[in-house]
């Protein structure tokens, strides 16, 4: 069948499938080069070592044409800004060299205030043809309240930081005054600026080579391609309604909540209904709609086809309904800093619901991760420092495979900070970094083992924030597989209990972060004896577990 009539090409111009592929390759190269430019030139450890940034190319109408994300929660984090600018700014006043900066989750920035977005228009032959955009997570706005967003940091709606290429120093001064580590911010901003400038040049060069109408038409066809690919994948899931609910805890709130999802697969489209979930709360575990979209997109991409380009065409067959004012569609003034807590759980819920339809494709529930932040005055430099680490846990087991040990899962995928880099930079010493015995949820296929990261404050008192979801309710197993373990912040000698994650760690004192671990898959008694023996030999499970849970005859 000839699938190649590209009917939606804006100009009606026909572009052959070879040219579409070649231009598609060039567009993805642009966002990849932009992303690498940020990572290499960024100043702060969080962006450079953890690569906590993403880049996107929007067309003039604000549709995502190409995206290079290193962290899946960014799949949707950038969706808001182009839309916001298109809606709120008189486009006739936008000129080459204007750069918008924004971070407010409720007015088109990222999905929490640390994600600062830079958006710049691309002009070609006098016409606004595209927007280059990038987002980077800035380790700033620390030691804040989180009852509502006004406590969480400076809110910046998308505003012009540059006009016609000229820095608006007063705007910059205002932003920097509200940052705790302005020295890092200014250099990270430079990296973000450089990336966009590169994107503008590359996109213009592409237009010069092929003509802007051809690039436009090819871009539209690339969206159609992603649309077709997504539909082809969804069509393989048996039609039906799939539901699941679970309990959800976070040490940022007192109560344990009930979360649920209802999914309908109808032909080549998929509908997510998130009604009936809790109202938004006065704690930072709310998700704005774009964060929910990102999370759902992540789940669909992993189940349907990991190779689908993350553009607006991919979004088309996916429909998400979440009532305004609820946890999954929070509105002003909801605090959103720790949005990955519910996001990780939402992915688990989607997998569990669809496990009835596609048991081979999903995994058991995974870790929610554990966030650990140390801050204070560095005794060697007398400067304020922030050490921020998203500690991984492990993945739930899969049909035919154990879950991965010691990883980040789902919407996060940030690297750890090498101990030998960390200790050189910060007044901190890592005492242990290890996998935790008996932590993987037992099953025919075992959930992954979680990590313990034990950290000591040297010669100063640090303010710490440590914790995560799953402190009460562990990640569940599937098909007879057992639960993983709960999240635990192990307090060293003399450390007072943390309140809402926050506390003080004095000189020589330490805490250890142990995030929850993934659930098992299938009955542990059915686990291959050779694998049980191997786990025992490698000290991954105790003799007791081997005997009692796996039924090994010793």
């Amino acid at each position: 069948m000839n699938q190649n009539s590209n009917p939606t090409a804006a100009s009606g111009l026909y572009v052959d499938p070879v040219t579409v592929e070649v231009i598609g390759s060039a567009l993805s190269t642009i966002v990849e080069e932009m992303g690498k430019a940020i990572v290499r030139a960024a100043y702060s450890t969080n962006i450079k070592e953890r690569q906590d940034c993403s880049t996107v190319l929007f067309d003039a109408e604000g549709r995502t044409i190409a995206q290079a994300e290193r962290i899946p929660i960014h799949l949707g984090s950038l969706l808001g800004i182009a839309e916001y600018v298109l809606k709120h700014v008189d486009i006739s006043t936008v000129e080459p060299g204007d750069v918008f900066v924004g971070n407010d989750a409720h007015t088109g920035g990222g999905t929490h205030l640390n994600d600062i977005v830079f958006l710049e228009p691309v002009f070609f032959e006098g016409e606004l043809v595209a927007w280059v955009t990038n987002l980077a997570h800035h380790s700033d706005f620390v030691d804040r309240g989180h009852k509502h967003i006004f406590q969480e940091g400076l809110r910046i709606p998308p505003i012009r930081l540059y006009r016609k290429g000229v820095l608006q120093q007063d705007v910059m001064d205002l932003i920097l005054l509200n940052c705790q580590v302005p020295r890092e911010r200014i250099n990270d901003f430079r990296a973000q600026m450089a990336a966009n400038r590169l994107g503008v040049q590359r996109y213009q060069a592409l237009c010069t080579k092929y003509g802007k109408e051809v690039v436009k038409a090819a871009s539209a066809e690339i969206l159609n391609y992603a649309d077709r690919k997504t539909r082809a994948g969804i069509a393989k899931i048996p039609d039906g309604v799939y539901e699941h609910s679970c309990r959800f805890d976070s040490n940022l709130v007192d109560e344990v909540m009930d979360l649920k999802v209802r999914i309908e697969v109808r032909g080549d489209e998929i509908f997510f209904d998130l009604s009936g979930n809790p109202e938004q709360v006065r704690a930072p575990i709310n998700m704005v709609y774009t964060a929910t979209l990102a999370t759902v997109y992540f789940a669909v991409k992993t189940l349907v086809d990991p190779d689908i380009p993350a553009n607006s065409g991919f979004h088309r067959p996916i429909h998400v309904a979440a009532p305004e004012g609820s946890l999954f569609n929070a509105v002003e003034p909801a605090a959103v800093y720790s949005r990955t807590d519910p996001a990780q759980r939402l992915v688990d819920l989607i997998f569990a619901a669809l496990s009835k339809a596609i048991p081979e494709e999903v995994c058991a529930a995974c870790t929610g991760g554990g966030l650990m932040t140390f801050s204070g005055i560095h005794p060697r430099t007398n400067r304020f420092y922030v050490y921020n680490e998203m500690c991984g846990g492990s993945m739930g087991a899969r049909a035919g495979k154990d879950g991965l040990d010691g990883v980040q899962v789902h919407t996060t995928n940030t690297a750890n900070i090498p101990i030998e880099a960390l200790e050189f930079e910060h007044p901190i010493m890592v005492e242990r970094y290890e996998l935790v015995k008996d932590s993987g949820g037992p099953g025919q296929w075992r959930g992954g083992m979680t990590i313990r990261r034990k950290v000591k404050a040297l010669d100063h008192t640090a303010t710490v924030s440590a914790g995560g979801t799953n402190a009460i309710v562990p990640p569940w197993g599937l098909f007879g597989g057992m639960d993983g373990t709960t999240t635990n912040v192990e307090l060293g000698e003399g450390v007072a209990p943390l309140h809402r994650r926050v506390g003080q760690v004095g000189p020589g004192q330490s805490i250890a972060m142990v995030a929850s671990s993934g659930g098992g898959y299938g009955d542990p008694k059915k686990r291959d004896r050779a694998l049980v023996l191997k786990d025992l030999r490698e000290d991954r499970i105790s003799e007791e577990a081997a005997r009692e849970i796996y039924g090994l005859e010793l």
Binding site: N2, E21, I451, R537
Partner: protein
């Protein structure tokens, strides 16, 4: 047998999975003789000694094995053992609390969106990773003394478990290696014949996971490489060759057998490095020292950038899931080769990375593959020979290629020729992307470079690829198919040693940095002595990794050896800022600069196989035309009768105007309309756009 008493031979042997290429250089005549033999994978040394004997015997006039003065060898023994999991059973001794660093890695999962991904197998299993009490801090202070009883117990346990190799890696050993040294002593007391891999010797740089990984891979490969080389040397002696083999390493240089036995990790990924070495030498001979190498084979293409005669180095490379902190040429590989398969994915044309390889190979081979490949597209377009490949050695079925491409065209709703040209366009875009990685993303503009194309498929695709990237000039070497074997004859002895010394770049820190360099010089001297390199043939290059304070990416800057004190600091800052500006487009003037790692490259120059210059050709270029072929040219939208040249008949000074096809045994060169190729004195083709 000894007909040529005066000749001295330099031999290069590139031993791959399928074939062993042998390249013999006659120093007297400055001529290269080439031989090929099937590899003997169970014991590669067999095929090597047999092939060299055959090659010498087949030379005009015969060659005496006793006259072989140099033996350069590229081997995939280490790489294959790593890929196929055939390394030694190995153990690891590390700091208490950190045995899982090797397994946790950077805590990232291998693939972002696949729920089915698995980590690369861990080479030292958890029961063989032993912890000992000790701790060194970032500044070299000992926070906890080494507990020697722990070490002894650990070694005894590893011995009982039957490990053949032991890796030692403790935190901050690159600053203070005392504990690692003592652990080594204890291991040797307990197991005198253990293969040892110690992190401060293998990769004395910060970042514990990457250093541990490198040290463990080295341990894993040690016994394998030792066994291999212990077989090869006697076999060569039996064949009458007494020259000791020199092995290529991933930095493009060679090392002695002894070094290769102790540091086999340096030979991983050495295969494509020899091709880059040959390119550097070719650049030197021709005076074209800004090159982008494009080596396209059956399943993949390797690309690298040579700037002012210097190939670019990469310090962080991941090989089959294992990060390796060993000096490697910055060679980027993309799954685009002659055997790459073209298919339709939801309405768009995709090419590769799946490949039909050599067997079953392209559709035209008739060995069972029915999906069109890049080679099939070239047959349909008329660029490749329509009846035979490899100079008539291999018959092909051009009609089968055409039918396969036609099926693809049908699915896409386009014409057959559009589909064939489409395959070329898509694979060209994929390769262009790879070249952007090593040029644009590193701050180099490809338009300032000449593309050097080799490998069986490189010269066919080079013209279009260069055009895509606006690279103005193309160079096709005389023997595109054996560049790696030629490179083996031209590699210097080379070792890169490093030492992490984190400090602010300041006058106060200079003594520490200089002491670090003094240590490295000492190690370089030991190496020069061990390799018996005469003082006149020694070169040292000093460099330093620097970054803005707190940054995580360093830039390697040449150490300004001619200045001291304030001037030295200033010179480093200037060089760093220049490089930073080139790569990132800005300078953070107010920020302090930090030194991280000191690097010394020690080079022992060996006499090179000097390329021969040929006198201007006597006849006309037209005399090299052996026929014509109808080639489809999208520029004209039709088939055009193109002249067919035989490469061997072209001589210096000949000019070939495009469109034209130049055939030779190991490759085919395609020259586009509007281009002209000039034959240089080394018999290279230099292709440029006509004025």
């Amino acid at each position: 047998m000894l007909k040529d008493r005066g000749s001295r031979f330099r031999v290069g042997v590139d031993s791959g999975g399928t074939f062993t290429d042998i390249c013999i250089f006659d120093e007297e005549k400055s001529e290269v003789f080439v031989w090929k033999i099937s590899s003997t994978p169970s014991d590669p040394s067999e095929g090597i000694s047999e092939g060299v004997a055959q090659g010498l015997g087949a030379m005009p006039g015969g060659g005496d094995p006793a006259s072989v003065v140099y033996f350069g060898h590229g081997t995939t023994v280490g790489t294959n053992a790593l890929i196929q999991g055939r390394g030694a059973d190995c153990g690891l001794i590390t700091t208490e609390g950190f045995r899982d660093v090797l397994e946790i890695g950077r805590q990232k999962r291998p693939e972002l969106y696949s729920l089915q991904s698995v980590k690369a197998p861990i080479l030292a299993t958890r029961d063989k990773r032993m912890e000992v009490r000790e701790r060194v801090l970032f500044d070299g202070t000992i926070a906890q003394e080494l507990n020697e009883d722990d070490v002894r117990n650990a070694v005894r346990e590893l011995k009982a478990k039957g490990v053949k190799a032991i890796a030692i890696c403790t935190l901050f050993s690159f600053i203070e290696p005392g504990h690692e040294k003592r652990i080594r002593e204890i291991v040797l007391e307990e197991i005198p014949d253990a293969f040892l891999s110690v992190s401060h010797e293998i990769a004395p740089e910060f970042r514990e996971y990457e250093r541990t990984s490198t040290t463990v891979v080295n341990a894993y490969l040690g016994p394998v490489m030792r066994t291999y080389l212990d077989r090869l040397t006697p076999r060569l002696l039996e064949a009458g060759i007494s020259a000791e083999p020199h092995l290529t390493q991933s930095n493009g240089g060679v090392i002695s057998c002894e070094t290769a036995k102790n540091q086999p990790v340096r030979t991983v990924l050495s295969g494509p490095a020899a091709g880059v070495t040959a390119a550097v030498e070719l650049g030197r001979a021709t005076g074209i020292e800004n090159l982008i190498t494009f080596d396209m084979g059956g399943t993949s293409s390797d690309v690298a950038l040579i700037d002012r005669g210097q190939p670019q180095m990469a310090n962080d490379i991941v090989v089959h899931g294992y990060p390796l902190k060993v000096p490697m040429l910055d060679i980027h590989t993309v799954g685009a080769g002659g055997g790459s398969i073209a298919y339709v994915d939801n309405g768009l044309l995709k090419v590769g990375p799946r490949s039909a390889g050599a067997n079953p190979g392209p559709v035209c081979y008739g060995l069972g593959n029915e999906e069109p490949t890049v080679t099939d597209a070239n047959i349909v377009l008329g660029i490749l020979n329509q009846t035979h490949l490899l100079n008539g050695r291999m018959a092909i079925d051009a009609e089968a290629s055409k039918q396969a491409v036609a099926r693809l065209a049908e699915q896409l709703g386009i014409g057959v020729m559009e589909a064939a040209q489409g395959i070329i366009r898509v694979v060209t875009a994929n390769m262009a992307k790879a070249i952007r990685v090593i040029s644009v993303e590193r701050g180099y503009d490809p338009r300032d470079y000449t593309m050097l194309a080799f490998g069986g498929a490189g010269p066919i695709h080079a013209a279009r690829l260069a055009k895509e990237l606006e690279i103005p000039k193309l160079l096709i070497p005389k023997h595109p198919g054996i560049m790696c074997a030629i490179g083996l004859l031209q590699a210097d002895l080379r070792t890169n040693i490093s030492l992490t010394r984190m400090s602010p770049l300041s006058l106060e820190a200079l003594p520490m940095i200089e002491a670090g360099f003094a240590q490295l010089r000492e190690r370089a001297d030991e190496w020069f002595e061990a390799e018996a390199i005469p003082p006149a043939a020694r070169t040292l290059r000093l460099a330093i990794d620097v970054r803005y304070g707190g940054q995580a990416y360093e830039l390697t800057i040449d150490w300004p050896e001619d200045s001291t004190g304030e001037a030295l600091i200033k010179a480093i800052r200037e060089r760093f800022e220049g490089a930073h500006k080139q790569l990132y487009g800005y300078i953070a003037e107010e920020e302090p600069i930090q030194a991280t790692t000191l690097r010394v490259e020690a080079i022992g120059h060996v006499p090179k196989a000097e390329l021969k210059r040929y006198p201007p050709a006597a006849g006309k270029a037209e005399d090299a035309i052996v026929g014509t072929r109808k080639v489809y040219l999208p520029e004209l939208g039709s088939f055009t009768e193109c002249p067919l040249y035989e490469r061997e008949r072209l001589g210096p000074g000949h000019v070939v105007a495009g469109p034209a096809v130049v055939e030779q045994m190991d490759s085919t060169t395609f020259i586009l309309p509007g281009q002209k190729a000039t034959v240089d004195p080394y018999l290279n083709l230099l292709i440029e756009w006509k004025a």
